[in-house]
């Protein structure tokens, strides 16, 4: 079976003056697949290339070398709206003080399905309402976006992405601004979408335990390259994480059987019986 998305030997660098980095940042020789129906986690330290990867997958920027395919078709040959019917992004944040209502925002997700149409149809409204119901914000349909709390905003943006009816859903730090209860809800919702709607999910996150708990496979990026790709248990081991992140961590098992990553705070005594990998001790 063809993977949903194929990233093949992709190199990319930003034009130097646009970014405030001393040397132009680059993704180099990144290769991986996103299998249909899976949840793939993308993790890595700051500036490892996670955000750039989202931009490449959505053709906001294009690879300098290499190729990205979606359902077997090169991204370069898809129009923007064809791509937006297949791939939807839930960004970390909405712009401040947007004047739209919840329903107006969610309906924007219908744009790629009829880019030449002036007004949405009754069918579009139907899809948008389904999406709002799926993320539990239908009762907020007429509410202004500006008055919503963080958890509600997150679910509204997710509803907008679902209104695109994508095959691939990309989430950028979905739990970054959420308190504990909303984090749990968010995980339950994503799992539900993945199982019931067979939506393939790429989850970009700093939260290693979220990735471990939710993802079928994890892609660990470091300095613009793939450091490791595999099951959470394969990727999230103490030596690898210590090497990539440059700090000591302890990994044990969560009650679910998935790996659980904990920081080892400097000065704290290691727990008895637990071996701690520290790059400086080698």
């Amino acid at each position: 079976m063809t993977p949903l998305a194929e990233v093949r030997g992709v190199h990319f660098s930003y034009p130097a003056p646009e970014r405030r980095r001393p040397a132009p940042f680059a993704l180099s020789d990144v290769t991986f697949d996103v299998a249909s129906g899976e949840i793939l986690g993308v993790i890595g330290p700051n500036s490892a290339g996670k955000t750039t990867l989202i931009r490449l997958l959505t053709k906001v920027v294009e690879p300098a070398r290499g190729e990205i395919r979606l359902g077997g078709r090169p991204l370069a040959r898809l129009t923007r709206w064809e791509l937006a019917r297949e791939v939807a992004v839930v960004p970390q944040e909405l712009p401040h003080a947007l004047p739209f209502s919840v329903e107006q925002l969610v309906l924007m997700g219908r744009y790629p399905h009829a880019p030449r149409r002036f007004f949405e149809t009754a069918g579009d409204v139907e899809v948008a309402r389904d999406a709002m119901a799926a993320t539990g914000v239908l009762h907020l349909a007429g509410a202004p976006l500006d008055g919503l709390g963080g958890g509600e905003r997150q679910r509204v943006v997710l509803a907008r992405a679902l209104a695109q009816e994508p095959r691939l859903l990309i989430l950028d730090e979905p739990t970054a601004h959420l308190d504990l209860r909303y984090q749990v809800e968010c995980v339950a919702l994503l799992r539900h979408l993945n199982r019931e709607r067979a939506t393939t999910i790429v989850l970009v996150s700093h939260d290693l335990n979220l990735a471990a708990e939710l993802c079928d496979r994890v892609l660990l990026l470091a300095d613009g390259s793939v450091a490791r790709l595999g099951s959470p248990a394969d990727v999230l081991d103490e030596a690898t994480l210590a090497r990539v992140y440059g700090c000591a961590v302890a990994v044990d098992r969560a009650p679910s059987g998935r790996p659980r990553v904990q920081l080892v705070w400097p000065g704290a005594a290691p727990r008895p019986g637990k071996e701690v990998a520290d790059p400086r001790s080698r």
Partner: protein
């Protein structure tokens, strides 16, 4: 109520208001005609060469039409610039685009020519060139560090506006004294009666600008989410911005060529419409065409009558309305995207 029906209701109400204002304005003016005399002209009972016929059909009617077209064009340009910069303070005069267009038009005037349709086309084209250069300069100055921060955008608009106003002053000091009065009068922003052929050209150019923007209204809503999000929703942001910029610059230049740089219509009208209709550009753009026409028509009728038999410049009246709205928006919405 469906979107389409809501738009139809809004346009019907604004259209009726515009027509009523236009009809009322026919009866007002410094030539003290009785309502009966005006009615006689309108029903075709006045002699062909009578004073009242000339006043109503050759002075008032074309001026009313020109004011309506100019106001509509400026308001639509305002909505366009606001969506483009994602800021409610953006407007042709605030961004310096009007000054650039005025400079272009003065250059064309100095190069000579009469008052035929061909000359009007030339004035509008030079104005368009000036508007594009000024708008492009503002964009380049303000986006120097990536993004378009509002303070930088406003300052860039002011600076570019001052530069082109100064350049225009240099040119006007080269003009012989007979023509100077006309140019200064035009620079203050004055709607004057336009002959039918030129009026048709005016309306056609404004129509092209309106069409360039209204067709993009749905995409402009998406652009409010930011360029990256717009790309990810399937909107080609660069092409969209270029199209809106060309449309708004064309609208501005057209109005400047026919009526001079009239400020703040593009600020006041969209602001009031947003309060009533909300942020959806699919309602705002068509509504701005009619509401802008009504606003400038009302302001021009006031300008014709308030100090009769003399006249105020309509640009003075719109600035008196616009300055407080600008201050209000500056104090309350500076950090808002729209």
């Amino acid at each position: 109520m469906t979107h389409g029906r809501r738009l139809a209701v809004v346009l019907a109400a604004l259209g009726a208001g515009l027509l009523a204002l236009g009809a009322a304005a026919l009866f007002l003016g410094s030539a003290r005609l009785t309502p009966g005399a005006v009615l006689a002209v309108l029903t075709g009972h006045a002699p062909a060469d009578s004073t009242e016929r000339v006043v109503v059909l050759s002075l008032r009617l074309p001026r009313i039409a020109a004011a309506a077209v100019a106001g509509g064009a400026l308001a639509v340009a305002g909505v366009g610039f606001q969506a483009l910069t994602r800021n409610p303070l953006a407007e042709p005069s605030v961004l310096g685009v009007s000054s650039g267009a005025a400079f272009g038009v003065v250059v064309a005037q100095l190069l000579g020519g009469g008052s035929g349709v061909g000359d009007s086309v030339r004035l509008a084209l030079f104005g368009f060139g000036g508007a594009v250069v000024a708008g492009g300069a503002v964009y380049l100055i303000a986006s120097a560090h990536g993004g378009l921060p509002i303070q930088t955008l406003l300052l860039a608009g002011v600076i570019v506006g001052i530069f082109f106003a100064s350049a225009t002053t240099v040119l006007t000091s080269l003009v012989d004294i007979d023509r100077l009065g006309g140019i200064v009068h035009w620079l203050l922003g004055n709607v004057s009666p336009v002959p039918p052929a030129s009026l048709a050209l005016f309306a056609a150019l404004a129509g092209v600008g309106f069409w360039l923007i209204v067709g993009q209204a749905r995409r402009l809503n998406v652009l409010a989410l930011g360029e990256e999000a717009a790309l990810q929703l399937g909107v080609s942001a660069e092409r969209l911005k270029a199209r809106i910029f060309v449309g708004a610059a064309l609208l501005t230049a057209t109005v400047v060529a026919f009526a001079g740089p009239i400020g703040f219509v593009g600020l006041v009208v969209p602001h009031v419409l947003r309060l009533v209709l909300g942020p959806d550009n699919r309602l705002l753009v068509p509504a701005a065409l009619l509401a802008g026409g009504a606003f400038l028509l009302a302001a021009d009728t006031l300008a014709r009558n308030v100090v009769a038999p003399a006249e105020l410049s309509v640009g003075v009246i719109t600035s008196f309305c616009g300055a407080p709205v600008f201050v209000y928006l500056l104090r309350t919405r500076t950090r808002s995207p729209l």
